[in-house]
């Protein structure tokens, strides 16, 4: 992965004090992410300024990526460049706030791009148009030109953090299953893309059936299940080198549903033998494995708590599948889901406070969230088949797969408030998304 250097744009701020008479005694622009209905905050992002000729080819693209990210949150609404009356021709010239107030913009993002050989330098500033104040310092990012989209995502994360006070989620990736071919003989490939659906790459060739990839906590490795041997087996792949190894391969067993522990050192997974499906833990360094559940039932779809001390999973030990939490040695298995219907695919939020799940009720499929004790269940979506939630790195957004009757599956995202349901672009039919952490 391309490394960035990041530093404040020092020395540029001095001549950039807020123009007298414009500054008002007012709290700076702040977006509170609440459960209530909010009116998206209007913002403007003119094309970035080219600081040399080579930078010119990125000025519009970077601004568009940022605008798309921020609009996609549902918290902000872009005022399109065609409506702008002001022009930003120099990154360091004072901003004419009246021009941006005139179009009712609340926030303004300005930036500049310079390209020197393989290196791209991106600078940006964020302004509260109403108070005429800059929000935070200007920031400069340096990186390789082929990582220009990542730099735009980094800027988006900075803007998001300055406006909401929360960490962003834009400089991240999604692994998923790219599907093609007829439903009766579906070709499935493990694929990886940026969170906005760009830069898709295929990690497996589709020769063997694959499903349910999962990112490691550092985003550099993935786990998935493949039928390469004719039987479902767990594989661990290094994303950069594409090297992979089979984990815990024992004849007569089927292994699937692997998930990393938060420290990346262990994998919890399901093993089916003689029709029973139990959960096991595998220590990657020692190869030691131990059994966590021991029932005749189906125990699967595990997910670690972010502190690494507990595992949530689904089990049909009492009939229809329900959600349970247990300790790392399998102790204290407590049912947490209490509502009607069947619950599956629990996923612990990165904040630790919520568990997302798939729920089947009255022939419909839903994505929902509940507290870790099962209380405050909230259903966020419904369709013919919604399945497999995965959390954004900041725990604000859930991505999942949706299949309407007779249609191919697509990826969708929804805020944990239940608002802002939207399609995540993919090159073709897609399922089983897993969201990476923020990239290093």
């Amino acid at each position: 992965m391309t490394q960035f250097s990041r530093r404040p744009v020092l020395g540029l701020l001095a001549g950039f004090a807020v123009a007298p008479g414009i500054a008002r005694a007012q709290t700076p622009l702040r977006i509170e992410i609440t459960e209530g209905v909010i009116e998206p905050v209007p913002f403007a992002i003119p094309d970035f300024v080219a600081e040399n000729a080579a930078g010119g080819q990125y000025t519009a693209g970077i601004a568009r990526v940022i605008a798309n990210n921020l609009s996609g949150t549902g918290l902000l609404r872009e005022i399109p460049p065609t409506a702008h009356v002001g022009r930003i021709t120099s990154f360091d010239s004072p901003v004419q706030f009246a021009d941006w107030r005139a179009i009712n913009s609340r926030a303004l993002i300005t930036g500049a791009v310079r390209v020197n050989g393989p290196t791209i330098t991106v600078k940006f500033r964020l302004f509260d148009v109403v108070s005429g104040q800059q929000l935070g310092d200007g920031l400069q990012l340096d990186g390789r030109t082929d990582a220009w989209r990542r730099m735009a995502h980094r800027v988006s994360d900075q803007v998001y953090m300055r406006l909401t006070g929360e960490t962003g989620y834009f400089d991240s990736q999604v692994v998923f299953i790219a599907e093609s071919g007829p439903a009766t003989n579906r070709r499935k490939q493990v694929a990886i893309m940026d969170q906005d659906g760009e830069n898709t790459q295929y990690l497996t060739d589709g020769t063997s059936l694959t499903f349910a990839p999962r990112f490691s906590p550092t985003g550099d490795r993935i786990l998935f299940t493949s039928y390469e041997t004719g039987f479902p087996r767990i594989y661990l792949m290094d994303v950069a080198s594409r090297r992979r190894q089979v984990l815990g391969d024992q004849p007569g067993e089927m292994t699937f549903a692997p998930r990393f522990s938060p420290d990346g050192g262990s994998v919890v997974y399901s093993l089916s033998v003689d029709g029973r499906t139990d959960l096991y833990m595998l220590n990657l360094a020692s190869g030691q494995r131990w059994q966590l559940t021991q029932t005749d039932a189906i125990d699967t779809a595990p997910s670690f708590s972010p502190d690494g001390q507990q595992v949530v999973f689904e089990s049909d030990r009492t009939g229809a599948s329900q959600l349970y939490i247990m300790g790392l040695q399998g102790g204290g298995q407590n049912r947490i889901s209490q509502g009607q219907g069947r619950y599956s695919t629990p996923v612990w939020s990165p904040r630790g406070d919520l568990i997302a799940f798939t729920k089947q009720l009255n022939g419909r499929f839903h994505i929902g969230v509940m507290r870790t004790d099962g209380s405050n269940e909230r259903i966020l979506t419904q369709s013919f088949l919604d399945e497999g939630p995965t959390w954004s790195p900041n725990g604000r957004v859930i991505m999942f797969a949706r299949e309407e009757a007779g249609n191919n599956p697509v990826l969708m995202s929804v805020d944990i408030t239940g608002r802002n349901l939207r399609r995540v672009p993919t090159p073709g039919p897609a399922s089983d998304p897993s969201w990476s952490p923020l990239l290093p």
Binding site: N185, F256, S272, T345, A405
Partner: protein, 170 residues
């Protein structure tokens, strides 16, 4: 007339045998490929469906598939009848290796359905062993909802897709 009808039936059976070969297409077959999965495609001579020792006969005349009700791995009365016939045939021709594929309909989550298919395959395996088929000949695999036999968003297809198929090979 009778001869013509029979000829048509044989042709139809052969066509079905070709379509229904569960190891056609992208299936990796460890029993014939030794896990190598050369392109994921293997070929097996099905033989003449009128030859009672042939795979085609097993698939078409004996019946290679049993079905299940929603979220269940219990054998139906019909399923028991089919499996008894399968067991008798398998006991008569002990050189065939056996792979039982368990499947689920699409009305469940992916990993649960893998486990459910495994449970169904194991149920069939246990039944065949109970009928005297050597356990050493039998392997099981689950495809969950990944390989429906029919694709439609309706009960008709889901009923067909909740199944376990006994795949025999030499």
């Amino acid at each position: 007339m009778q001869i013509l009808t029979k000829a048509i039936l044989v042709v139809a059976a052969l066509a079905l045998a070709a379509c229904n070969n569960p190891r056609g297409g992208d299936y990796d077959d460890p029993l014939t490929n030794g896990g190598a999965g050369a392109g994921g495609i293997s070929s097996t001579a099905l033989g003449d469906p009128n030859d009672p020792t042939s795979i085609a006969y097993f698939n078409q005349t004996i019946g290679d598939t049993v079905h299940f009700t929603v979220d269940s791995s219990d054998l139906t009365a019909e399923g028991v009848t089919v499996l008894r016939t399968q067991a008798a045939w398998l006991n008569r021709y002990p050189s065939y290796a056996i792979l039982i594929e368990g499947h689920a309909d699409e009305r469940g989550t992916r990993e649960y359905n893998i486990a459910l298919g495994a449970r169904r395959a194991a149920r069939v395996q246990q039944f065949l062993i109970g009928e005297g088929v050597s356990s050493g000949r039998i392997r099981t695999v689950s495809y969950g909802k990944e390989r429906p036999i029919e694709a439609c968003a309706a009960q008709r297809c889901w009923d067909l897709n909740r199944r376990a198929t006994t795949v025999v090979s030499r």
